[in-house]
Amino acid sequence: MLEIRSARKVFYKGQADEKVALDGLSLKLATGEFGVVIGSNGAGKSSMLNAISGALVLDSGQIIINGDDVTDMPVHKRAVRLARVFQDPMKGTAASMTVAENMLLADLRSKKRTLRQGLNAARLATYKERLELLGLGLENRLDTRVELLSGGQRQSLSLIMAVGGSPDLLLLDEHTAALDPRTADIVMKATVRAVEALKLTTLMVTHNMQHAVDFGHSVIMLDAGKLRLEITGEEKAKVTVVDLIGHFSVKTDRMLLAS
């Protein structure tokens, strides 16, 4: 379960270009719930995700994961509980290391790292199995350095790495936005499969309204650092792209085009 209690964050405080990124944002996500976050640029989506992961320190407010207050925890301590897939495929993987080594890094996210050998036969077999699910042939490229993979393969790898340890919370930050439509589709399908199979509590940010309609149990819309709208249950099942776009204060063609 994730709970955000009146989170507030102001950038450049007291200067001419002061910007309120999060303005008393409160949000609840039940265990196993898949929430899709939408909102125009500058609505506070990324700030919210950064605040949850710990990359951004809040001015006030609290972040609670599974009942524990993690507000004062640094990024690497929160990593025990949450996993994140970034928009940029470069960000989520270590380019100069091999596929297997990247899998190992993610595998040990919530465990204590010892002086034992990292990659052993048992682990390699497990990683192979997990990568086979993607159907991209990555299972045969365990010793390939990640920088030699395509953006789509990298992002798929990031996803498998993120869902690997069944994290308490999965954060997806526009994770298909940098991919071509076909690859985006593969990654999105793999995402839904993993989230449903493992019943992961998930927060997905997207600019793709079709994805917001098709996936998730609820749609959360942010505007100017606040929760503007939350569509759940029956209502979510019936919502359409046009409905969602209707809620944007500034309508742009880009949203329609992106859908």
Partner: protein
């Protein structure tokens, strides 16, 4: 014909001495490689850590300490110096290069304080090279055996370490610090520990050097960094840097080849004062090579990221 023969004989006669020297200096190259390559932390501390190790070792030897104890204390002093550089960078967000320059400048005074004067003779004091089996102490062979043995042990241990769970985590910090942090790795601990370890190697090299040459000097680190970089680049050109094993072998191979090259240049009549210019030009050429290659062919395709 006569000239070539003279050059060749003087070069060959110097091979054992140069080899001993290069095996000792291989630890500095290792201390330069670890931050540069595995941590992506360009570090200049070695220029101060090398004489620090030398000064600490010299003072302890003069006070009658055992050679092994002198090296151990030098190693710890180097470790602390490296930790300071990494801490300055992380805590105050000062560029790694500037943090290194600050540290090596401050170390110069500290080194003078430690010795109390600018150089110290420890000739005749016992050294680790006295323990070499089968050979007479004092000859290059004993230095080659001891320094080579220590090098081999360090190489094997590091190769094992970088493949452990902790070692993989440290490499991840160099490859992508944000990703490493998101995978639960404490970037501070890994960086401080890693740079500390590297400086410990530089200091060890300084300590071994003092035992080898029989005196310590505050200026013994002058130019060691650029020599080490040149050696590292030669090593990487020969054995590559694609795997942990190759990357770790590069400093040792590079040091051995580089110092033989230097020795050959000197034997061939190059005036010693020109050596630093030649080394600098060589490092510059090695660094410039990739960009020269690129400007000839088409620009490399980069992954395009939305917005």
């Amino acid at each position: 014909m006569d000239l070539i023969q003279t050059v060749f004989t003087s070069f060959v006669s110097l091979i054992p001495v140069t080899l001993a020297q290069s095996l000792i200096l291989a630890f500095v190259v290792l201390g330069i490689m670890i931050p540069f390559r595995t941590l992506n932390f360009p570090d200049l501390t070695s220029e101060g850590a090398f004489p620090l190790g030398g000064c600490v070792c010299g003072v302890l030897l003069a006070a009658g300490a055992s050679p092994l104890a002198a090296i151990s204390v030098a190693l710890i002093a180097g470790f602390l110096a490296g930790c300071c550089t990494a801490f300055i960078h992380l805590r105050f967000r000062i560029h790694t290069l500037l943090a290194g320059i600050l540290m090596m400048t401050m170390l110069y005074s500290i080194n003078l304080r430690i010795m109390g004067k600018s150089n110290l003779s420890v000739f005749g004091a016992p050294t680790v090279f006295d323990w070499a089996p089968f050979v007479q102490p004092g000859f290059p062979a004993s230095k080659i055996i001891i320094a080579g043995l220590i090098g081999a042990v360090v190489f094997i241990l590091l190769n094992m370490f970088f493949k452990t769970e902790k070692g993989t985590a440290i490499r991840a910090v160099g490859a992508n610090p944000d990703m490493a942090e998101a995978q639960g790795i404490n970037v501070w601990v890994a960086t401080i520990g890693g740079v500390g370890l590297a400086s410990a190697f530089s200091a060890t090299s300084g300590a071994l050097m003092v035992q080898s040459q029989g005196f310590a000097d505050v200026n013994m680190g002058l130019g060691i960094l650029i020599n080490g970089l040149a050696a590292l680049m030669i090593g990487e050109a020969i054995v590559g840097k694609q795997t942990v094993l190759r990357q770790l072998a590069a400093p040792f191979v590079g040091a051995v080849v580089y110092y033989q090259l230097v020795s050959f240049c000197l034997a061939a009549g190059m005036p010693p004062p020109d050596l630093k210019l030649a080394t600098g030009l060589f490092v510059l050429a090695m660094l410039a090579l990739p960009s020269l290659k690129r400007s000839r062919g088409p620009a490399q395709a980069r992954e395009t990221i939305r917005e």
